[in-house]
Symmetry: C2
Subunit: 137 residues, 2 copies
């Protein structure tokens, strides 16, 4: 199945999620881990679309979330920075999911500056994540 | 907001619904009404996308479903037959939603032959609707 970038943007506008996880992790110095991930979830009947997205982006994994639910997920920072973000910079999302993407991009920028390693930086990321921003960041 | 057909297909693969309603209606001779409708539902924050879809397809309406939820909906038979169906024949859906579309198209064909006006025809439509068909119809 060959995917066209415009189809991918439309599908992500519908089904995609730019998630910024913030959770406790005792192995981190701050005790908190910031985990940005790009995720698309589907019922198992459409697993072939998830594999097509994996092939399209040339990164990420397809895995089970629940017995009948699978997802295509990109967590690797380098892939997010060099593939996912440039793609959605070039091909703009049309729904308010673009706001989620812009926040996601900002968080990855903050992480590249090491902000996620300090308590203050994590708080800054948390505030950004919760903000109902409607402007370009 | 200008939409590209490929974006529309991707978005419908994610968010669209080809619904075949079958409900009691005492004003119909058979007592049953068959109501096919093409629907895309969104949170109110993305209402502009629904209006863009209405402008794109040049048919249908945007209306509230719940306080924060709106939908773009096409029920008019002529619009379904002359706009929606030809569009998705030309621009193929990539998920299993294509199966829903093919069943939907078949039901509209049956309706154009008047099958929805008899109890037997309605039963045929109901069986088709429930079928897990995976082949081109």
């Amino acid at each position: 199945m060959n995917l066209h970038p415009r189809w991918v943007v439309g599908f992500v506008d519908g089904e995609g999620c730019f998630h910024i996880g913030i959770s406790k992790n005792p192995t981190m110095k701050s005790g908190i881990q910031v985990l940005p991930e790009f995720v698309i979830t589907q019922h198992k009947r459409d697993v072939q679309v998830l594999y097509a997205l994996k092939a399209f982006f040339k990164c990420g994994i397809v895995r089970h979330e629940k017995p009948n639910i699978l997802c295509f997920r990109v967590r690797e920072r380098k892939a997010l920075e060099t593939i996912i973000i440039p793609f959605f910079e070039k091909h703009k999302l049309k729904t308010r999911k673009r706001q989620d993407f812009l926040k996601f991009r900002r968080v990855l920028k903050m992480m590249s500056e090491g902000l996620h390693l300090s308590t203050e930086g994590i708080e800054e990321i948390r505030i950004l994540r919760e903000s109902p921003s409607t402007k370009e960041i």
